[in-house]
Symmetry: C2
């Protein structure tokens, strides 16, 4: 299996087909007026040399590279990946290639990437990250459009696409109410984490709307299973009874589930359980399978990419766009048999 020595150029193709370079270009791009026979001859020559036009040279002329940069603020993680996949998919369909840049929470590294992307003349940039918090804009006065996905920009003039976590939390509570639960507790991540606060606030508000109090003040802790287990201890030690727990993440929910079972409470008969993220590993591993809020991250990535493409074509969509979450109901919150 030899290695082809070098890439064929259009000059090679032209020579082989016995035409000028310009004519070869026209033949391959369907421009100009050429005899069909000539066109075929050139195409055949190109095929024979497995010619692929040099995209760099081409974009030199067109001013567009058909590439975009994707920068992750923090690390490429569980949340940024679906966003990334969705975006890659939508962009690939538009014949655009994606530069991957892992920011690693390092501002220096991030700025280096921004410069690199600009020198590569990307047509646009997507910024994403692990959390939904608003962040300072990646740079001021960039010559290309930028879209923030999942994470959002602190500048309201920038285009950000985020999940509607408030709506998602509300849906979770509404579902628990619909299956007849009224003594609902909330266990979630650290209070300094934006998502934890937003989801907790939305849950409380929705309960208040029904004239209900939560079964306990929201329990802020970590995003781990261990915290979920620990939180159950706290709930059981408290005086008030509870018939449902809405958790800020699936991992917490799983911990809660395991601890409840260990304490002899049945899920969902005694306690209904709803998680957040709809992460298959957790929802399927949980016994019983876990009801959860899905943020549709892949769709979010896709939307972000579409907005970026629109912006590149001159129709920006500034502002913060919140995409709906939806609830996926499974056995952990199924109505108990009468």
């Amino acid at each position: 299996m030899g290695k082809l020595e070098r890439h064929a150029t259009i000059a090679d193709v032209a020579a082989l087909a016995g035409v000028s370079v310009g004519t070869a270009s026209k033949a391959l791009n369907g421009r100009g007026s050429l005899r069909e026979e000539t066109r075929m001859r050139v195409r055949e020559a190109a095929r024979q040399l497995s010619f692929e036009a040099n995209a760099g040279a081409r974009s030199l002329h067109s001013g567009r590279t058909y590439t975009v940069g994707m920068i992750t603020t923090d690390t490429i993680g569980r949340f940024s990946i679906p966003v990334l996949i969705g975006a890659e998919d939508a962009l690939g369909a538009g014949e655009m290639s994606v530069f991957l840049c892992d920011g690693r929470d390092d501002p220096i590294r991030e700025q280096y990437y921004v410069r690199t992307l600009l020198s590569r003349r990307v047509d646009g940039i997507i910024v994403t990250g692990r959390r939904t918090e608003a962040r300072t804009p990646i740079a001021a006065d960039l010559p290309v459009p930028v879209v923030y996905a999942f994470i959002s920009s602190a500048d309201p003039g920038d285009c950000s696409v985020v999940p509607d976590e408030t709506g998602g939390a509300r849906k979770a509570v509404e579902h628990l109410l619909a299956v007849g639960r009224t003594r609902i507790a909330h266990v979630t991540g650290p209070e300094h984490h934006n998502s934890a606060r937003v989801r907790a606030a939305a849950a409380l508000e929705r309960l208040a709307q029904e004239g209900l109090e939560p079964a306990a003040p929201p329990l802020f802790g970590g995003w781990s299973e261990a915290w979920g287990r620990q939180a159950v201890g706290i709930l059981l030690a408290g005086r008030t009874e509870f018939d449902a727990v809405f958790c800020g993440s699936d991992q917490i929910a799983r911990g809660v589930c395991d601890a409840l079972r260990a304490a002899g409470r049945r899920v969902p008969q005694d306690v209904a359980l709803v998680g957040f993220d709809n992460w298959d590993v957790m929802t399927e591993g949980c016994q019983p399978p876990l009801t959860s809020v899905d943020m549709n991250l892949e769709g979010l990535g896709r939307s972000a990419a579409e907005m970026l493409l629109a912006a590149i074509n001159g129709s920006p969509s500034p502002g913060r766009h919140a995409l709906p979450c939806h609830l996926v109901v499974r056995e952990s919150s199924a109505v108990p048999l009468p």
Copy 2:
């Protein structure tokens, strides 16, 4: 926050500095012989216009683009991501940018990506994927070097970097032997899956080396927790006793752990448990924390990137390179107190 209209060109810089284009280029790249004063003047002009040399135009001349393509055979998943991160890191250090391409198990899509990457004149390509199986080469006679990471190429002349799963499985068994277990069972994924077969074979072989039989024939099933739980049922129903289970994945191990506890067997006192993958979500979520084999995927990605860089610079490393796995010991296999 306005938008800069267009990228400054070196001609703009030259004009502002009052020198010719060629001189400007030399000043910025430290070539030629120029007065220090001139150099500074040009640099200042470049800074003022926030000039970034057009990488496409530049590579037109140098013949190198300082980009590589990363194609995932199947989907961007739990295994390909660390590989990808490692590779991106190593390449970024070498000032190379990465094109991300998600093959999605679709050969058409894959071929499209190969063509695109070639037209973008990448300096090399890394192919990765979800499984370690050998795959047919991505294409014959490519004009750029290719390295397969995690997945491997069926052509032994290609460069592949893979984890030494055999060694990893052996280490797991050796560890169980070292903590005094002799009646060891093996629960793993589907038999048609390469990793399942390789790991099982290595485990059996290592046992045989001690003159031992497994506590039961290897149990092939799925990679899920559910299968792990189910497998415990099978083991308990069998006649032979067992004092350890080596699992083909952490998810299986976790299922096994939960089911053992539910059946009243203590981990690690009654049964020691070792998983595979060292996936934090599982090893930490498990009660007790899970001992597991780590394939060092990030390091693998890094190695692959380094080999690719070497190949680009003219020193290819053909063949299949197996990188060592290591065992991370946690409580699930701790020696029981005497």
